[in-house]
C-alpha cells in the first residue's frame, strides 16, 4: 500500500543528471574513433613499404636481362612491363595518401575531445553527490521518528501480549510494521498451535506410555513364551533325534528282515522240492496200498472158496459119518468081516474128512481174519495216506502261498527300508532345523528382552517427554491471546484404550509360571485358546 513512496524517492535520488550520462555516452565514441584513425595510419605505412620492396625486387630481376644482349627480346619486354606496372601501383598509392591530408590531424583532435569529456564527467559526478547528500539527511530524521513509534507499538510484546498490532503508514517503518504485524500473527498462531500441540503431545504421551507399558508386559510374556517354545523345541529336537535313531535301527531290522525273508524263501524252495518228492512217494504208496487191498480182496474171494470147500468137506464128513453109522447098523445085522472093515474104513474116512474140514475151516478162518486185518490196515493206511496226501498238497499250496507272502514281506520290507531311511534322513534334517529354530528362538528371546528393556527406557523417556510437554504447556499458557481465536487444528491422535493383557488371549500355549520340563522329559504342551 504505502510502501511504494519510499521506493519512488529512492529511484529519483538514484537518477543520473545529463552532465553525467552524456559524457559517459560520448567518451567511448571518441576513444573508438581515435583508435581507428591510429590503426589506418599504420596500415598505410605498411602498404607503402611493401610496394617499394616489391619494386626493388623487380628491378633486381630486370637488371640481368638488360645486361644480357643475346637474350630474348620478348622476355625483356615482359620484364620491363612488369616493372612499369609496379611503378604505376606505387604511384597510385602515393596519390591516395596525398588526397587525405586531414588524416594526419584527426588523432590530436580526438585526444583533446577526450580530455574535455573527462572533465565534464567529473563535474557532473560532483554535482550529483552533493544533491544525494541533502536528500539523505531529510530521510534520516523521518525514519528515526517512525522507528520510535514502532518501538512504542512493540513494547507490550515483551510481556507476552500477542494482541499488540503496529501502525502501518508510508514511513520507512511501514513495511517493518506490516512485517511485525504478520510476525505477531504468525507467532500468535504458533503459540496457539504450540499450546494445543503440548496438550495433544501430553495426551499422546500418556497414551503411548500406557501402550508402552502394555507392550513391555507383552514383551515380557513374549520373551517367556519364546523361552518356553525354545525349551519345547529342544525337547522336540531330542525326540526327533531319537526318532531318527529308531528309524535307523528299524531300517537295519528291515534289512535283516529282508535277509531272513530271502533265507526263508530259499528254505521254502527246498521244502517245496521235498514236499513234492514226499507227495510223489505218497502217491506211489497209495497205489501200492490200493493194489494190496485188491490182492486182499482176491485172497478173500479165494478164502471164500476154501471156506466153501471146508463146508462141503464138513458136509462130506457128516454124510460119511451117516454112511458109517448106517454101515455099522448093517454090520450089526450080518457076520461078514469085510463089511466090518469097510465100516471101520468109513468111520476113519469120516474122521479124516472131518479133520480135513476142520483144518480147512480153521485155516480159512485164520486167513480170513488175517486178510480182514490186512484189509483194515490197508484201508487205514489208505485213509492215512489220503490225509497225508491232502496235507502234503495243502502244505505245497501253503508253501507257495508262504513264498508269495515272503515275497510280499521282502517287497514290503524293501519299501519299508526305503521309507524308514528317508524318514531317518528327514528326521535328522528336521532335528537340525529344530536345533537351528531353537537357536533362532534364543535370538528372539534375547531380542524380546532387549525390546522389553528398550520399551522400559522408552517409557522413562515418555515420562520425561510428558513432563516437557506439561512444562511447554505451562509456558505457552503465559502468552495472552485474543479471546475469539479459533482452534488452529485438531489433533489426529486418538486416545489409547490402554489395553493391557489382550494379547494373553492370543497365546497358543497357556502361560504358566513353571518352565517346561528339561530336554529329557517330553511333556506335551497344553493347547488351550481358540485364538490359535
Amino acid at each position: 500500500m504505502s510502501t511504494n513512496a519510499p521506493h519512488r524517492t529512492s529511484a529519483a535520488s538514484r537518477a543520473w543528471p545529463v552532465e553525467v550520462w552524456l559524457p559517459l555516452l560520448l567518451l567511448p565514441l571518441v576513444l573508438l574513433s581515435l583508435a581507428f584513425v591510429s590503426f589506418g595510419h599504420g596500415l598505410a605505412d605498411a602498404n607503402r613499404a611493401a610496394t617499394l620492396e616489391q619494386a626493388r625486387e623487380r628491378w633486381d630481376a630486370l637488371e640481368p636481362l638488360l645486361l644480357d644482349e643475346p637474350g630474348d627480346a620478348a622476355a625483356r619486354l615482359e620484364a620491363v612491363r612488369e616493372v612499369n606496372d609496379a611503378l604505376d601501383v606505387t604511384r597510385s598509392r602515393r596519390l591516395a595518401v596525398s588526397l587525405a591530408p586531414w588524416v594526419r590531424w584527426a588523432a590530436p583532435v580526438l585526444a583533446v575531445v577526450s580530455v574535455a569529456l573527462c572533465l565534464w564527467l567529473w563535474l557532473g559526478l560532483s554535482s550529483m553527490r552533493r544533491a544525494r547528500r541533502r536528500i539523505e539527511n531529510g530521510r534520516t530524521r523521518r525514519d528515526q521518528a517512525a522507528i520510535l513509534a514502532l518501538l512504542d507499538d512493540m513494547t507490550p510484546l515483551a510481556d507476552g501480549d500477542l494482541t499488540v498490532r503496529a501502525t502501518v503508514d508510508e514511513a520507512m517503518t511501514g513495511a517493518l510494521a506490516d512485517a511485525f504485524n504478520q510476525a505477531v500473527t504468525a507467532l500468535r498462531q504458533l503459540v496457539a498451535d504450540t499450546g494445543h500441540s503440548a496438550k495433544e503431545v501430553g495426551r499422546a504421551v500418556a497414551a503411548t506410555r500406557t501402550s508402552t507399558r502394555a507392550l513391555s508386559s507383552a514383551a515380557s510374556v513374549q520373551s517367556r513364551e519364546i523361552m518356553r517354545a525354545s525349551n519345547y523345541l529342544n525337547v522336540m529336537s531330542g525326540a526327533i533325534a531319537e526318532l531318527s535313531m529308531n528309524a535307523t535301527d528299524s531300517a537295519r531290522k528291515a534289512t535283516r528282515t529282508r535277509t531272513a525273508a530271502a533265507d526263508g524263501r530259499a528254505a521254502l524252495d527246498r521244502a517245496g522240492v521235498q514236499l513234492d518228492r514226499i507227495s510223489d512217494e505218497a502217491a506211489l504208496t497209495m497205489r501200492l496200498t490200493h493194489r494190496l487191498a485188491d490182492n486182499v480182496r482176491a485172497i478173500d474171494a479165494e478164502v471164500e472158496t476154501v471156506r466153501a470147500i471146508a463146508t462141503r468137506s464138513e458136509l462130506l464128513s457128516l454124510n460119511t459119518t451117516v454112511r458109517a453109522a448106517a454101515a455099522s447098523q448093517r454090520v450089526a445085522g450080518s457076520d461078514a468081516m469085510l463089511d466090518e472093515r469097510s465100516t471101520s474104513d468109513y468111520a476113519r474116512l469120516a474122521d479124516d474128512v472131518s479133520d480135513l474140514a476142520t483144518v480147512l475151516g480153521s485155516a480159512s478162518r485164520e486167513i480170513s481174519s488175517l486178510t480182514a486185518v490186512i484189509r483194515d490196515d490197508a484201508d487205514e493206511t489208505l485213509r492215512a495216506m489220503s490225509t497225508t496226501v491232502a496235507a502234503l498238497r495243502s502244505g505245497v499250496d501253503q508253501t507257495g502261498a508262504l513264498q508269495g507272502h515272503l515275497e510280499t514281506i521282502d517287497t514290503s520290507a524293501g519299501a519299508l527300508d526305503e521309507l524308514i531311511g528317508d524318514t531317518a534322513n528327514r528326521a535328522a534334517r528336521q532335528a537340525d532345523v529344530v536345533r537351528r529354530l531353537s537357536g533362532n528362538m534364543t535370538v528372539l528371546n534375547r531380542l524380546g528382552r532387549d525390546g522389553a528393556a528398550g520399551l522400559a527406557a522408552a517409557s522413562g523417556s515418555l515420562d520425561r517427554l510428558q513432563a516437557l510437554a506439561e512444562a511447554l504447556d505451562a509456558r505457552v499458557a503465559g502468552f495472552r491471546l485474543p479471546v475469539n481465536d479459533p482452534a488452529p487444528w485438531t489433533s489426529g491422535i486418538e486416545p489409547s484404550d490402554g489395553g493391557t493383557g489382550a494379547y494373553e488371549e492370543d497365546l497358543f500355549f497357556e502361560p504358566t509360571t513353571d518352565a517346561p520340563a528339561a530336554a529329557g522329559s517330553a511333556t506335551a504342551p497344553t493347547a488351550t485358546t481358540s485364538g490359535a
Binding site: T311, R312, E314, L315, S317, L318, N319, T321, V322, A324, A325, A326, Q329, A350, S354
Partner: protein, 174 residues
C-alpha cells in the same frame, strides 16, 4: 460060548453112538445118525400154497419128493418164516423128510465116566443150551437128555418126530 460071547460084549460094553447135532431155534438138538440119510446144502424147495409158515415146500431128492420143514420155524413159530441153509434128510420106514436147520455137525456120545461125573457133579455140567429149552418136547416129540460132545442137549429119533401130531399137520391154519 455064552461067556465067550459075553466077554467081547463086556469088552465092547461102551460103543459110542454117533449123533448129528443140529442147531435150530437157538438150541442144539441131536438126532441119531442112523436116522439120517444125507446132509444137503444149496437146495431150493418148491413152496406149496396154503401150508404153514414153517413148511417150506417139497424137494425132489434122487427121484423122490421129499417134504421140507424149517425146523427153526417149527420150533419157534413166533419167529416167522425162515429158510435155513442146511437140510438134514431123515428116513422113517422108507419115507424121507428134510429138516432145514441153521447149522449141523456130528458128535459122539460121552463115556460113562462122563455120565457118572454128570450125575455126581450137577454143577459141573455144561450150561443149558440157548433158546427155549424143551421146545422140542413142547411140540409133542419124545426126547432124551444126553451129554453129546461135552454138551447136554435133547436127543430124539426120527420116529418120535414123525409121531408128533404137530409135525404132520402142515396146513396154514395151525
Amino acid at each position: 460060548m455064552s461067556e465067550s460071547a459075553s466077554a467081547p460084549v463086556t469088552a465092547t460094553a461102551f460103543v459110542p453112538r454117533r449123533w448129528v447135532v443140529m442147531h435150530a431155534a437157538g438150541q442144539d438138538i441131536a438126532i441119531d445118525a442112523l436116522s439120517v440119510r444125507e446132509i444137503h446144502d444149496g437146495w431150493q424147495a418148491m413152496p406149496l400154497p396154503g401150508t404153514a409158515a414153517w413148511f417150506l415146500g417139497t424137494l425132489v431128492v434122487r427121484g423122490r419128493v421129499v417134504p421140507v420143514t424149517s425146523f427153526d420155524a417149527w420150533l419157534d413159530p413166533e419167529g416167522g418164516r425162515r429158510a435155513p441153509p442146511f437140510g438134514v434128510e431123515v428116513t422113517v420106514g422108507g419115507d424121507a423128510y428134510l429138516l432145514a436147520v441153521s447149522d449141523v455137525r456130528h458128535a459122539m456120545d460121552a463115556s460113562p465116566d462122563r455120565e457118572a461125573d454128570r450125575d455126581a457133579e450137577p454143577a459141573a455140567r455144561s450150561p443149558a443150551p440157548a433158546g427155549s429149552p424143551g421146545a422140542l418136547a413142547g411140540r409133542g416129540v419124545r426126547v432124551e437128555r444126553r451129554t453129546i460132545g461135552g454138551l447136554e442137549m435133547d436127543t430124539f429119533t426120527a420116529g418120535a418126530l414123525i409121531a408128533a401130531p404137530a409135525f404132520g399137520d402142515v396146513t396154514a391154519s395151525r
